[in-house]
Amino acid sequence: MYSRKVMDHFTNPCNVGEIENPDGVGEVDNPTCGDMMRITIRVEEGVITDIKFKTFGGGAAIAASSMVTEPVKGKPLKETVKITNKDVAEELDGLPKVKLHCSLLAENGLKAALDDYYKKISYPYFIM
């Protein structure tokens, strides 16, 4: 059902956990399937220096969570803003059709965290 890559990320997800006193927090859920995600980020001088997630969800949700956090660490905020669920699904070598929304959860979780950070620093730009 899932690609090898999804299974790898599901079994050994990167960046699981929670940053204490984070600079941004994103909490999103998907009411239809009950999936939930919480992303916390540390931002230093416009760069994401740390990111962690916690996810309640199926294989795709967990793998997508892991996948969305991986390339972000050490990247400037501006670049991470561009990550879409399509990228995530592609990086995972595809997801079953019915599970595509799980990659959306990951995208939204990241954006919510960025959003929260921007809000905190009163940056006049909202992503969501």
Partner: protein, 384 residues
Amino acid sequence: MREIYMDHSATTPVDGAVLETMLPYFREKFGNASSIHQFGQEARNVVEEARERVAGFIGAKSSEITFLSGGSEADNFALQGLTSAYSGRGKHIITTSIEHPAIIETANYLEQNGISVTYLQPDKYGLIHPHQVEDAIRPETFLISVMHVNNELGTMNPIGEIGAIAQNHGILFHTDAVQAFGKLPIDVVAMNIDLLSASSHKIYGPKGVGILFIKEGTQIDKLIHGAAHERNRRAGTENVAGIVGFDKAVEICENVMTEEAARLTVLREYFWNKIETSIPDVIQNGHPTEKIPGILNMSFKGVEGESLLISLDMKGIAASSGSACSSGSNKPSHVLQSIRLAPELLNGTLRFSLGRSNTEDDIDYTVDALSEIVERLRAMAPVS
């Protein structure tokens, strides 16, 4: 890696003796049971012998058994065939909200075609009470269809009582016995059953074979029209090897049913006790006493079912969340919704269905794996 199959309600492996019995019917005794030459007559004879045995197993006459392709076709044939035969006379069907999709979706389809359908809601154990059925009857009701055993919970409905109510009101009674057949004693006469669906692959027989029992005298239109196979009830060249296999599978059930039920009850209790002592925040679903031995349905707080399943699978353990059929969809099971399971548990439900291959040792291994997995996944979940 170890392989532990605990998904016997989804399907079962074909029994060794069953396969053995089937083998000659692929290449040697391969005739079309409708042909009048020896190849055909040989096939005809074993098909009729199978019909005889299957009929006897549920207290029916052999002329009341129609072989077909499986449980779903049987359910469709019952509902569509009766609706067509009663068109103009009957307009209302009573069924339940916890039926298999083969009943629910067919009923939905009939609704689009002018039939009204009442879907009875079970109690929190998944049980349908006879008075609910009685209360739902209207003058235009022509059919009651209530499943014998629910495939997700294992809860057993009081089929005999419902049958009696149907008979008192002169209404047809169908039961989807796919999960009961071969596991519980069934007597269609004593239970006042007019139609009954069963499927071979749930009882260690081959896939692609099932029956619909149709009580003598019942008016029903064909679902699959064509040549006069199966006493003109179902067209299509009979799946002789499949029917022979089903026959043998029924014979084995006759022999081992009682003792296997006792064994699985002990095993399931052992399983549940171990779970309860090793994993916090888990509840058991289904009826405390009115249930078949093999099924253990549990909800784990704060863990998502698919993640549980995949993680178990990676340790060689096959289980299911809800029914096999709804996997791949994201909606929580309609059965769990019907018993009004708390929302936070809906998505953390697992069904283990035990069968002939399972041992106490399998359960020890499974509970160890499961408690590790639950712990890991819970740690990964955001606190809500």
